[in-house]
Symmetry: C2
Subunit: 204 residues, 2 copies
């Protein structure tokens, strides 16, 4: 990633104080994001691709930003179903590999055991500790990307990744992706409760 | 979060092996996601709200999944600009607070120093180590959510958060959000290179 950083003195709104920030140009830094393996049947056969440009739109739906050149897009359009599989850090080689080679040329399903759920056409990866089976509900069109929005229909998890019946991401050990340094990162420690720790500021 | 987990024996595609996964029902588990403070001018005044249901659509754009009831949505629609500010873990109280109280009733800008960039109507938070100034390019409508898609126009970073001129998320110390346990998590260690470590499987 080339750097075009310009040091700039910025004035805060009150106009009383100057401070310095580096301007990077138009650089997307909304990271880290969870690395996923997206599954779809293409021409009747399961295929998996590594996607980390993902997001949540509303509570029940996930989005996948997928370049239009990808083989997997054909299957998602055809079946209107897909899966989002969360690999753990011990699967990092297989996960990265699925982002390097294309399903047009390589049968990536040999790396994993595949299973299907209630939608019947969304292949899922047994070895991934967590799998979400999704129904395509929307496609948002960009010049070079299809953004597929799926409603989660069923979620499967390894029993060993639950703590008090709640999904425990310390046990999932997801692979977090940062584009800026083109690297995978681990999840750190849980350190605060949401909709809670901020209450301390309420009565200030 | 109530648990409706059903233990189920699942048969893999080859049909030779059975294994167990717990079915959670339709449970969104695409976590962790980065916790952001989204800035917008509402009725001519800056306001900030905590949003972690975010994503990347294509390389240059970010998405914000925001419930329609939020005050900030008014400003994003009006100005067609917003900012995405990445707070560090030391700002967790202020960050959580901005998700608890509404700008309709509380002036949250008192917590931070605000600055503006080239769009002039997207307020940004000086104390956040990273800020993205965004132009609204699309709104995806959901029954209860507006998904605002912004193109990043300029990115500002603290110089101390760069390593070899690249944004270093170990120095940013982002606040990662998990809905399942309603908690904030730290980022862990960088452990592998993307589009690289998977090459080891190429010649198998």
């Amino acid at each position: 990633m080339r750097f075009s950083g310009e040091r700039d003195n910025i004035t805060s709104k009150s106009g009383e104080e100057k401070f310095m920030k580096v301007k990077l140009g138009a650089k997307n830094c909304l990271y880290p994001l969870p690395t996923t393996l997206v599954g779809a049947n293409v021409n009747g056969k399961p295929n998996y691709i590594t996607i980390a440009h993902v997001g949540i739109m509303n509570l029940s739906s996930v989005s996948l930003g997928m370049h239009k050149s990808h083989y997997t897009n054909i299957g998602i359009r055809e079946n209107e179903t897909f899966s989002v599989n969360i690999p753990s850090i011990k699967m990092v080689k297989e996960t990265d590999y699925c982002g390097i080679v294309t399903g047009k040329k390589v049968d990536k399903t040999k790396l994993f055991d595949t299973f299907y759920g209630k939608l019947e056409t969304a292949p899922m990866i047994k070895e991934c500790p967590l799998n979400m089976e999704c129904q395509l509900i929307k496609t948002v069109d960009f010049p070079d990307h299809d953004v597929f929005v799926g409603e989660v229909i069923e979620t499967y998890v390894e029993e060993t990744c639950l703590t008090d019946e709640i999904v425990d991401f310390a046990k999932i050990q997801p692979i977090l992706f940062v584009m800026n340094d083109r690297s995978y990162w681990k999840l750190g420690d849980r350190f605060a409760k949401a909709w809670n720790i901020g209450n301390e500021l309420k009565n200030r």
